[in-house]
């Protein structure tokens, strides 16, 4: 809903966008919303280019891109979707790189529920454990890998509730409907520390790395602002922002 | 006896009545449109809840606001015939008839299903759907449906007003049979004088929510203090008894009540002794001081002047006459009255130009 509204706005703004050659339209995976807003501001300040971001799930954005949505750059929540676009010839060759690596947290809105080793998963003192839908969200897939690595998946499956995105999984836990859940660290992490509740920062070796890849889309091959954004994401200032939200590089 | 007291504020006036009505025969609630007739009937049925009111039917209390009594409609032993027949469209004719019939106990039933069907002549319609009936047929089914609850009081709200003259004529005989064959008192709302003249025994004259008069129809119609007698259609109804029949001239002689005087009318033979109702319009009656000789007018009756009143048109006078207890009205010009020097107490000859037999 919000996404199509942004897309509509973008269409309305197209005439003026034509006048400004150095504008970049970015499709951004929902989990990266907060850091992107900070980065966009810094990018516009430092480069003078205009940045217009649309947020949505990686699957939705993929569908829009393959059906002609006017995006220049795609920041996905995984590495497989950009790779798929690349194999379909939708991207500028050689532009793909990992702009962030996601970290997973087992989080509860209650202060003392989750211990810093995740033992609460074994104790089972909860009714619902929220995860993102593993079929469609990389953080959900990583969460199932963590549980499988600890031989808990089968035992915990009856208590799993799935959000359609990592954002919804967070919402289930934040509203208390699920006592705890696997969320993106970036959702509960601000300025280098936990913003509330209790959490176990899941060690990266318990799951496949959540590489979040970026690509320049084919139609932006000659847009200097698109390349400028890619360069900017490689830079120090962006790296600092990304880390402060709990991502690794 | 039906004891009726209601005070109900309506849009333009307040219905305010205090009446004792006979619990037998047909009582007409008569008045112009919007005079409160239907509201009064609905109060009696309990469809309208007058904030102040008392209603006793043969001593049984149906409403007494002071004592907080209000018997809901479905617990009152009434039948109600609506202006438009209001049959249930989701039921067949038979389903409509049985709706009320089924809801009273067998012990209460005084009218059988077949009796009502026969009385209203609706046997051929039973399997039909209401949508496929004519207006007259619908109204007959509506009346039969009301009768099948074996009501102790039948309320009829202008049951003929939605029908054209032909349909009216088709139903009136059924209403007369109803009155004659079933001993159910009927309250009959109408603004059509001819229906009232034909059916009513008792009459309540309503105007702007007030009862101007209530009484026997024979006595009420000639009253010169009521607007009814002053209008162009002023008339009396006389219930006469068939005294003889002249086969040769095909004339029926009807003896007026309390007298030996007869009114003759051209008609087919009717059994001697049967009661028939006549309507005599005031404008069809002229007066003469001497017994007219050599007149073609059939009916010449001796009468006494009771009172005179100026009609709604100042050129005319209404003269109320008495024929040994039977009242008669004559509408004559004021000029004629002054020429003849008419005054109360005077003996005159009334010449009746035409008579309508009502049944």
């Amino acid at each position: 809903m919000r996404l199509s509204f942004s897309a509509m706005l973008l269409c309305l703004l197209l005439p003026s966008a034509g006048a400004l050659a150095d504008e970049v339209k970015v499709a951004v995976a929902a989990n990266f919303t907060a850091p992107m807003q900070v980065i966009a501001e810094a990018f516009e300040q430092d480069t003078g280019h205009q940045l217009k971001a649309s947020f949505g799930s990686t699957g939705q954005l993929y569908a829009q891109i393959t059906h002609g949505a006017p995006f220049d750059v795609f920041l996905a929540a995984d590495d497989s979707t950009p790779a798929k676009l690349e194999s379909e010839g939708e991207t500028v060759e050689g532009s793909r790189f990992t702009y962030a690596t996601g970290a997973l947290a087992l989080w509860s809105a209650q202060p003392n529920l989750v211990d810093d080793a995740g033992a609460v998963l074994r104790s089972g003192s909860f009714k619902h454990l929220a995860i993102a839908n593993p079929k469609i969200a990389p953080y959900g897939l990583a969460a199932t890998q963590v549980m499988a690595a600890q031989d808990l998946l089968e035992q915990l499956t009856p208590r799993l509730v799935e959000g359609q995105s990592i954002g919804q999984a967070y919402q289930f836990v934040a509203s208390g409907n699920a006592e705890l859940g696997f969320v993106a660290l970036s959702q509960v992490y601000r300025d280098g520390k936990l913003s509330g509740g209790s959490a176990w920062l899941v060690p990266a070796e318990l799951h496949d790395p959540i590489h979040q890849d970026a690509v320049i889309l084919r139609k932006a091959a000659h847009n200097p602002a698109a390349q400028a954004l890619m360069n900017y994401l490689h830079g120090e200032r962006a790296a600092g922002i990304i880390r402060s939200f709990g991502y690794q590089l | 006896m039906l004891d009726v007291q209601f005070n109900l504020p309506l849009n333009n006036f307040t219905l305010d009545v205090d009446l004792q009505l006979p619990a037998q025969g047909v009582t007409a609630l008569f008045g112009p449109s919007g005079s409160g007739k239907t509201s009064l009937l609905r109060c009696i049925a309990g469809l309208e809840h007058a904030p102040a009111g008392r209603l006793l039917f043969n001593g049984e209390c149906w409403q007494d606001s002071q004592r907080g009594i209000f018997v809901p409609t479905h617990q009152r032993a009434i039948g109600y015939v609506f202006q438009e027949s209001s049959l249930f469209d989701h039921l067949s004719v038979e389903g409509n008839l049985r709706f009320g019939y089924r809801r009273i106990s067998a012990a209460e039933r005084r009218i059988s299903f077949s009796q009502a069907v026969e009385l209203l002549g609706i046997a051929p319609l039973l399997a039909r759907q209401p949508q496929h009936l004519s207006g007259g047929e619908r109204q007959r089914v509506g009346i039969a449906r009301a009768l099948l609850t074996s009501p102790r009081l039948l309320l009829m709200d202008e049951p003929l007003s939605a029908l054209d003259a032909q349909r009216k004529a088709e139903i009136l005989p059924y209403l007369e049979r109803l009155n004659a064959e079933l001993e159910i008192p009927i309250l009959y709302v109408s603004h059509a004088f001819d229906e009232v003249a034909r059916l009513a025994d008792h009459m309540v004259l309503l105007e702007d929510g007030k009862a101007l008069a209530s009484g026997n129809i024979n006595g009420l119609l000639p009253r010169l203090d009521l607007p009814l007698a002053l209008g162009d259609n002023a008339s009396v109804v006389i219930d006469g008894v068939v005294a003889s029949y002249d086969v040769d001239y095909q004339l029926l002689s009807l003896r007026l009540p309390h007298t030996e005087q007869c009114i003759r009318v051209a008609h087919q033979p009717v059994a001697i002794g049967q009661q028939l109702r006549l309507r005599v319009q005031a404008r069809d009656v002229s007066l003469s001081l001497q017994q007219p000789q050599h007149s073609s007018i059939l009916n010449l009756l001796a009468a006494t002047i009771v009172e005179l009143a100026v009609a709604d048109n100042p050129a005319h006078l209404l003269v109320r006459l008495d024929m040994q207890g039977t009242p008669l009205l004559a509408r004559i010009t004021r000029y004629s009255s002054e020429q003849l020097g008419l005054r109360p107490g005077q003996s005159v000859w009334a010449q009746i130009k035409s008579v309508a037999l009502l049944n």
Binding site: Q164, S175, N177 | H74, Y80, H90
Partner: protein, 227 residues
């Protein structure tokens, strides 16, 4: 077979949800519609407006407030917990409750319209034929409102089938509990399984068209019966 067992399970669950919701809505909505059609109380306007809210509110708003209300800190959650029922989010019962709100106007309004169209006269007639208050309701008002009841059932059922936003917010995508067809389609699209998405989506399309076609035809028949 183009549909997987999980698709079939979602279809079966959706049919159950829609059936239960429709039956409950008819039971709860008919008295409410009756009251709305007949009352002269000042409460008619505000309550009528509340009933109509789901017509204009995005389902996500209903879903969001239900999620908050059913949560352990919410009023509904507090009540259900004190009754020993736990919380209702992520349960089939919770979905039924959400659907009741979501489809309420689609059931109440056609019935209310039907009751209003009947007017007072047939009920007065029934009263003079010795029918008491409930007798009148069941044997006159309901049969005469039948076209409205049929429309309400069809719309309530179809609208619940198409429910998505509310389920998304309070469901949790649990197989056989809360994973209904609309969510399953969303999952397929998100997972880029477009072929399976097409099968389910086309099924919904055909179903919805058939429902509306039936209603249109009934509408014509109904109009004839009234004249």
């Amino acid at each position: 077979m183009p549909l997987s067992s999980s698709d079939l399970a979602a279809i079966w669950l959706t049919l159950q949800l829609a059936s239960i919701t429709t039956v409950l809505l008819l039971l709860l909505g008919t008295p409410l519609a009756w009251w709305l059609a007949r009352t002269r109380s000042w409460l008619k306007a505000p309550i009528g407006a509340v009933v109509a809210l789901p017509l204009v509110l995005p389902p996500t708003v209903i879903g969001f407030y239900l999620l908050v209300a059913m949560g352990p800190q919410g009023p509904v959650g507090a009540l259900t917990q004190s009754l020993g029922l736990g919380t209702l989010s992520f349960t089939f019962t919770g979905l039924v409750i959400g659907s009741l709100f979501y489809s309420l106007p689609f059931v109440v309004q056609p019935i209310q319209n039907a009751f209003e169209a009947i007017g007072t006269r047939p009920l007065e007639v029934a009263a003079t034929l010795r029918a008491g208050r409930f007798d009148r309701f069941f044997h006159v008002a309901l049969p005469l409102a039948r076209p409205g009841l049929v429309t309400a059932s069809v719309l309530g059922f179809a609208h619940t089938i198409g429910e998505f936003g509310v389920v998304l917010m309070i469901g949790g995508n649990i197989p056989d509990q809360t994973r209904v067809v609309s969510v399953q389609i969303f999952n397929h699209v998100e997972a880029m399984e477009y072929a399976q998405a097409h099968w389910l989506a086309a099924g919904m399309l055909v179903f919805s068209f058939a429902i509306l076609l039936t209603l249109q035809r009934r509408g014509r028949v109904g109009a004839r019966a009234i004249s």
